[in-house]
Symmetry: C2
Subunit: 79 residues, 2 copies
């Protein structure tokens, strides 16, 4: 079973990397940019075939390693 | 208009960061991991309201800055 985890910064957390990209896009002539925020995506290949068990396990992975839940949100999609 | 861009490594491109995460997850006791690949996600806030124009502009941003199209694929989602 495949799972995709998308980790994004929580609202209110400063994102200097996103700001830098925003500036670079402006410099390239893209003028209608409001804001940019960067996050991470993890594509996991799981040997488990049970959907509920897989989702619970991926949530554990996010809590323990993939996301810093103090400043980041995560969303799990099972494909 | 909001857009989300997901940039992932093409198949066959080595992903040492993903391999490291795979090893770390194994070390934490998650045993049913097949493979992990890491990518990037960009959340863009656009002032444009025309969907087709926005999509074309975001594709240009990907080609010019957000993705290295030699080794990376990108997917654009307009929200």
């Amino acid at each position: 079973m495949k799972a995709r985890v998308i980790v994004t910064l929580k609202n209110g957390v400063l994102d200097p990397q996103g700001k830098a990209i925003e500036g670079a896009l402006g410099g390239l002539g893209f003028s209608d940019i409001g804001s940019v925020r960067q996050g991470k995506v993890f594509d996991l290949d799981l040997t488990s075939t049970d959907k509920a068990a897989a989702e619970a396990e991926v949530a554990q992975m996010c809590e323990k390693l993939l996301a810093n839940t103090v400043i980041e949100n995560y969303v799990i999609e099972l494909l």
